[in-house]
Symmetry: C2
Subunit: 200 residues, 2 copies
Amino acid sequence: MTDFNYDRIKSDLNRDEILNRMHDTLSDFRYTHCLRVEKVCRGLAAEYDGDVERAGLAGLLHDYAKERSDQEFIDVIKNKNLDPELLKYNNAIWHGIVGAEIIKDELGIYDEDVLNAVRRHTVGATKMTQVDKCVFVGDFIEPQRDFPGIKEARKYAEKSLDAAVAFELKHSVQHLVTKNRAIYPATFVSYNYWIKKGEL
Amino acid sequence: MTDFNYDRIKSDLNRDEILNRMHDTLSDFRYTHCLRVEKVCRGLAAEYDGDVERAGLAGLLHDYAKERSDQEFIDVIKNKNLDPELLKYNNAIWHGIVGAEIIKDELGIYDEDVLNAVRRHTVGATKMTQVDKCVFVGDFIEPQRDFPGIKEARKYAEKSLDAAVAFELKHSVQHLVTKNRAIYPATFVSYNYWIKKGEL
């Protein structure tokens, strides 16, 4: 059985209290997704010598704010004086970057390693910590995920965390382009960085 | 039979003199490609109410410098004080942007509408003139081109020049990503701009 020990992580709430909050504010679908991602992140961190507790907590919380209204995100961006560029985007970007602020405010979690992994879980980054990578990949390959390429994604995740990050970014860009959608600037920067590492 | 009339275009050489230079400095394969692109560009410009002579001349010249050595491009970038950022790239980018300088210097063609279309033919741009678009698309769909998607590209070119530009950028990004290659920043900017216009 898994033991959770958040002693090293600055948080006003313990895991059960966090779960209660999440259960109250998320659909069942997303709540159970978050629990699955938590578990995968802990596994990845254990396998790749990362911080199991931080990776797990960030995995649990990565979609904490995903079901908030656009207006709530806009209010947070304005009230907390976040980069006004963010106003041009939408939930897909907001629930990570702005979501980290909501997590800080509502749950009293101030650990920047955890918050950064939440911020970066949608578009990645050039500098990613082991915790960032675990959450980025864990969200993509959790057991209920099913899409063309999922087998390859899981295979990469067993081989190398960096390869799995590169594959996920490649898959994201391909998905956006196939759907005739714009590529987020941050996704473009992450994609170029990770594809150049030559892990695929 | 096509009449060529470059009277409005500032150039030290006439078309026959340009053809002689190209024949001397390009492989047969590329020389005939340039002639085919010239023809397609003239047709597109005629159809879409563009400048037939400028589109044709830019189409003819678009690959003028493509077979030069990397060292020659690097020397031009340094000697002409072009953006040092260019040194990070390769022939794919150089033969357009740096190629325009070589065309200016060797052929005495100073018409910026023609030169810009050469500069932009590989990666496109957000602001593209009708001449730019004709060359960008003409290079992609000339009769000898054969790749998955060519039929769709030609269909778009019959429907709308803007749609053909968007499709070509989408195709370019897909090609790069499938090959695990980085996306040029300019290609990314062009892609996002044209895809958002919603022509596809």
